[in-house]
């Protein structure tokens, strides 16, 4: 498959938005979206980690394929992600302790964010080249970030209203997510094909 970069981007960013249409990164999507500032920081950290780990995974996958060791793919990817998270943490800690204090608690959470693992898996399955993989990683993580912030914004708004006690919490968040997801259905078919 030789998809154009633009199409890869639109597809991963809007049409098959990781969070709203493919259900990846759900735990953080539901758990860390009560405040816009938190959601935004988490989103940005995820963009960074996904992009770096996607590029690293791409290289690693070439090595694995060369040695016919595809069965180690999953374990390698997860190690790469854990290492990226760890390195990011160390790097930020050294360069900007302030940012580290803000992001500190979110970074370890990224390791168990399946959106991060899904990007290398998908790019391998779809046979993307390095450039395509990078664009895909940026679009997917950007889409994740956008969905997080959108949900956090509407959740902050519902905080100002009198939500019935029954619906407070996850149920309301899910309804919001489902309406957002319905809104995203309008993007289907965009960006090519046609």
């Amino acid at each position: 498959m030789n998809e154009s970069l633009g199409h890869i981007f639109v597809d991963a960013f809007l049409i098959n938005n990781f969070v709203l249409c493919v259900f990846l990164g759900m735990c953080s999507f539901l758990g860390l979206s009560s405040k816009v500032s938190t959601a935004w920081r988490m989103g940005v950290s995820v963009i960074f980690v996904i992009t770096v780990s996607a590029i690293l995974s791409y290289g690693t996958n070439l090595i694995l394929v060369a040695f016919h060791a595809e069965y180690l793919r999953l374990i390698t990817y997860i190690v790469i992600i854990a290492a990226t998270v760890q390195l990011t943490e160390m790097f930020i800690k050294k360069k900007s302790p302030e940012l580290f204090r803000e992001l500190g608690i979110y970074l370890p959470l990224i390791t168990t964010n399946c959106a991060v693992l899904a990007v290398p898996l998908f790019q391998t399955a779809r046979g993307y080249n390095l450039l395509q993989s990078t664009v895909f990683a940026l679009a997917a993580s950007g889409g994740y970030c956008m969905a997080m912030v959108l949900l956090a914004l509407v959740r902050e708004r519902t905080e100002l209203s009198d939500v019935p006690s029954l619906a407070r919490g996850t149920a309301l968040t899910l309804v919001l997510a489902s309406i957002l997801s319905m809104a995203f259905m309008g993007f289907a078919g965009m960006g090519g094909g046609g």
């Binding site: 816009v36 912030v149 959108l150 914004l153 509407v154 902050e156 708004r157 519902t158 209203s161 009198d162 939500v163 019935p164 029954l166 619906a167 149920a171 309301l172 309804v175 919001l176 489902s178 309406i179 957002l180 319905m182 809104a183 995203f184 259905m185 309008g186 993007f187 289907a188 078919g189 965009m190 960006g191 094909g193 046609g194």
Partner: protein, 347 residues
């Protein structure tokens, strides 16, 4: 005066303007009635019944839900009736009534009451109901029947009375009986998009094409609300402007594929959406600059979805997306408070 007069102590202001939520909502209904009347006249009995069912459905759903949760019923603010009317106007006249009821339930329960009722809904409830129906029953909600059928005041469109949960019976026989030559059931937008057939603009202005409402009438009704000071014209104007401008650019790039701006504005639900749905105050920004951005964004998005996406119509999705963005827009466009530009005086 006697010293024993009991005086009430209230805090200022001691005057209040004439406007109340209830009056505004009532006038929105007045403004919607001509459109509803046209819809019923154009499509006949089924359309009138559909509107009645959606309106009654929304009102009843709200009333019952409020009662069940032990609260005062909030139907007397008329907002549920508006939701019902708007929902009905966005549906094809032959839609099975049971689907319309499902739409009402979705619009009112998760679309509105779950958030805390009037004033708390993040999205326009009517559009939530419509989007649900669109996603749940994609065939039924895009299946338009011809307007002005000769016997429309005598008999119902057969699909109206479909058994709940069941598919409506195919309309072929009925269509053969009533249809005007060459009727395909496609809306002008779908015909333009998939077959590159342009409907004439004239009938569209007066709403005589299939599946479209009279643009001029909608604008008039909107103008009534604006004149009464009950609606903000900025959102409507900027949404139309955004759609027209984007449509214009597409048209300039490829006139064969993309319609001209006037056509863009007067087809589909754009005018109804821009006038009555995007302007839903609850789900739109409150800041003046925010309103312009919000409207433009929705207009642009509508045309992008229409021209680039897989669907012929994009107003509903554009407005839902705009609703989701309105808290962000509000946050990014705070009005500049008086005296804030200059440096603060050190105390």
């Amino acid at each position: 005066m006697s010293g024993t007069t009991i005086i009430e102590v209230r805090t200022s202001p001691h005057l209040h303007g004439p406007m109340t939520v209830e009056t505004i909502m009532r006038h929105v209904i007045y403004a919607l009635l001509p459109i509803a009347a046209f819809f019923s006249w154009h499509f006949g009995l089924s359309a009138a019944l559909l509107l009645a069912v959606t309106t009654a459905g929304c009102v009843l759903a709200e009333h019952t839900a409020c009662r069940l949760s032990g609260k005062r019923s909030t139907v007397n603010d008329y907002s549920a009736a508006i939701t019902g009317l708007l929902l009905g106007l966005t549906l094809p006249p032959g839609l099975p009534l049971w689907m319309a009821v499902v739409g009402c339930l979705v619009a009112i329960l998760p679309g509105k009451l779950l958030f805390g009722g009037l004033g708390s809904n993040v999205f326009n409830p009517a559009l939530v109901g419509r989007a649900f129906l669109q996603a749940a029953f994609p065939v039924a909600v895009t299946n338009y029947t011809p307007g002005l059928a000769a016997n429309r005041f005598v008999e119902f469109i057969p699909s109206t009375w479909a058994v709940p949960l069941m598919k409506p019976a195919p309309l072929n026989d009925w269509l053969a009986k009533v249809a005007v030559d060459g009727f395909t059931g496609a809306t002008p937008l779908a015909m333009q998009k998939f077959d590159h057939i342009y409907s004439e603009l004239g009938p569209l202005l007066w709403g005589l094409g299939p599946g479209s409402l009279p643009g001029c009438l909608i604008l008039l009704c909107g103008a009534y609300l604006v004149a009464r000071g009950m609606m903000d014209w900025r959102i409507t104007a900027s949404m139309i402007a955004g759609a027209a401008a984007t449509g214009g650019i597409f048209h300039l790039v490829n006139p064969a594929l993309y319609p001209d701006p006037v056509w863009v504005v007067f087809t589909g639900g754009l005018l109804l959406g821009a006038t009555f749905m995007a302007t839903d105050p609850v789900a739109s920004p409150v800041t003046p600059r925010g309103m312009w951005i919000y409207g433009l964004l929705m207009g642009v998005l509508t045309v992008l979805i229409r021209n680039l996406g897989g669907l012929p119509e994009g107003v509903m999705y554009a407005i839902l997306f705009g609703n989701a963005l309105s808290p962000l827009i509000d946050r990014l466009t705070p009005p500049r408070p008086y005296g804030a530009r200059k440096a603060q005086v050190p105390q």
